[in-house]
Assembly symmetry: C2
């Protein structure tokens, strides 16, 4: 069962938005046994859209289209769909009534642009949009299906989860595709590849391994196509168990596991709490933890100590330490971690202080220099790293690395 | 001058990574007058890759390929390129020597996988990769150009900026494409469209307007193709001046302007500083400001006050306020903003307290309820919003909205 995704919009081609929808759709479709074999982004142009429809419907049984359904004048998709499937645009009463209520509840006047959003090609089945104004549309032709959805990510995602997935399950008979992804952190790709080569070489032939590196971890995905789901899942479980034994401190977990989520799991398991004292990472560590639901169980809070005054006043870093060693030093990092632990009453304090760049570096402490510390019941320790020249990357890497220091400590302590 | 982008890798189709490279490339190419008309993502499969090469080289003069060049066993691109352009893989001495030094400087053993990375098709021109191990490759056939680059974003980006853009400028004669994008915040798309309809209708025909909504703002892009650059830029400047006069408080600026960058610019202009007291946004506001270079000029720091203890101990929120009104209340938000201003000595304090979800809501205070406050020399004020049900979105919207309260105050005060 093969699918293609088409995204419509000059804004993707011109690089003003990143297409996050396709990756999300690819993942969701895989989960129900549909394999995405191609993603195409085309312009807001009827001829380009029609050509993309033709090609995709020739190759795949299912074509998902996102984007081009907004109320404004540059969106042409709906008209192109009506022409392509040869039927007129008609008012869809439930959508019209929903939009009327939607605007009313928000105190917004129901204008002519909104009224136009209730028009749909007569030959489609409407997928309701509970979170926005553009409905989805399901078309069929010669046994193949094309579905058009809005491009706003959370509108599209809710439509897929609530309505499209159940429709697809019913409409198509789906083969089993099984994926399982383990997340590793701490070894670069080539070192990881060598470390796990014996494991990789001993994998059964029907399990396909892929390395998926990204800036914060390397993911290892096992895939199996057209197999018995239970048997494949059991075999993957066994294989990943062997992998974990091979690289225990690098193994974060499965699927969406991150250094933070693995750390959060360890803290919850132990009934312990965390607080952060961030200088160069500027709140990024706190934001990563609090982005996860349920963070209040183990996350007490933190201080973003950008200025020296904040380091002194809120974290109790000694002014003479700042004078003698500087803000970017082992001593400052350790006092920050201890200070936030004391101020919040958390079990552990994690601190960062460094030079994120692009300016502020010296010969002795170049841009990218970061001291990271962990304070806990057993005392405090710190580690220095010199990351790169790029600010965003330095913040990201220092955040991950600092949390990983705590994670490794928690891992070694056992339960 | 038309280009297409091809990204290679199962990991995009299966949804395990988001393709951020293509948007970045689209933007950079536009800047030098190359128009991206299609982006295609294909599998790590020689037949699919060859088909994508054939189609793209038929339609466009330039094809940029990213991904599929890593050292591990699932990467087939380089072999496919050698076959496609009909020449053998040979060792590229400068790359080999660079890799040897690279590994040595990192204390990593130079292994056989790295040695294979110094092999390139004999018929290509190598683009050096100063930030990673996979070199780029430039191929020519019948006047058309295909360039293959690594998929790791910062390696690819540095290669494009340092080497590819100068090569493209030299190789192709480029037409002028001019874009200018204004950023608005505060009006939903349909209301914005009506508010600016008279302006839009009066635009000269050769200026094309596009609405580019995203979760935090709506961008309005003017484009002109094959025109005199200076003339087009002057006209866009005039037109955007009129737009700003029409919607003064919604107009954030140009290009990458955000609510934060507009606020930062106002603070720097006035020599004032900011501190944050975040509960439900969990450090996201601080992280957004500190992600921008030079934040230390105006950003003092902040407190992530996730627990009530931190609100009391570090921000001086009165325990009786928490008891009487709860943590999510006007009174708490105001005391948080005042408290962080006092603790840090900043000119302004911005605070958020709310229920990000998915749990923790009540009938009176449903998930999505957020109080936001701004404290400054003129006193403190607070505003409540009820956002949606989704945690990530609530954090994002509350962060933007809270900062926008400060921005509007600064805008109204004038210089």
């Amino acid at each position: 069962m093969l699918a293609e995704i088409i995204t419509i919009g000059d804004e993707i081609l011109i690089g003003q938005i990143v297409d996050t929808n396709s990756a999300w759709l690819g993942h969701e479709l895989n989960e129900i046994g549909i394999r995405v074999v191609r993603i195409t982004s085309v312009q807001d142009d009827p001829a380009a859209i029609r050509e993309a429809f033709d090609n995709a419907l020739r190759r795949a049984q299912l074509v998902l289209v996102t984007g081009g359904l907004g109320p404004t004048k540059d969106d042409l998709t709906k008209k192109t769909l009506a022409d392509y499937f040869g039927c007129p645009l008609v008012r869809h009463r439930p959508t019209y009534e929903f939009l009327e209520r939607w605007m009313e509840s928000r105190g917004i006047a129901f204008n002519e642009l909104n009224r136009a959003q209730a028009l749909v090609p007569e030959c489609c089945t409407v997928l309701p949009n509970r979170h926005g104004t553009a409905p989805g549309m399901w078309f069929e032709r010669e046994g193949k299906v094309l579905v058009s959805m809005p491009g706003v990510p959370f509108e599209m995602k809710n439509m897929v989860t609530d309505t499209l997935i159940p429709m697809l399950r019913e409409h198509f008979r789906l083969d089993a595709v099984v994926h399982r992804t383990a997340i590793t952190y701490g070894l670069p790709e080539s070192a990881l590849a060598l470390a796990i080569a014996p494991w990789e070489d001993a994998l059964p032939g029907w399990l396909k391994l892929a390395y998926l590196p990204n800036p914060t971890c390397i993911r290892l995905r096992l895939s199996a196509y057209e197999v018995d789901r239970d048997e494949a899942e059991a075999e993957m479980e066994r294989q990943f168990g062997k992998l974990q034994a091979l690289i225990p401190e690098c193994f974060l977990g499965f699927d969406d596991a991150t250094v933070e989520s693995a750390t959060a799991a360890l803290l919850k398991e132990r009934g312990e709490t965390l607080a952060t004292a961030e200088s160069c990472t500027g709140g990024a560590i706190a934001a990563r933890f609090t982005a996860m639901p349920g963070a209040s169980e183990y996350f007490a809070g933190g201080v973003v100590a950008y200025s020296n005054e904040v380091k002194t006043n809120l974290l109790g870093v000694r002014p003479e330490t700042l004078t003698a060693h500087g803000a970017v030093s082992r001593e400052t990092a350790e006092q920050m971690a201890e200070g936030v632990r004391r101020a919040t009453g958390a079990t552990y304090g994690v601190a960062t202080t460094g030079i994120a760049g692009p300016t502020g570096g010296t010969e002795e402490k170049p841009v990218g220099t970061v001291w990271m510390a962990v304070a806990g019941p057993e005392g405090v320790f710190a580690e220095k790293r010199v990351f790169g020249k790029l600010r965003t990357q330095n913040i990201q890497r220092a955040s991950t690395h600092a949390v990983n220091l705590l994670r490794i400590r928690l891992t070694r302590k056992g339960k």
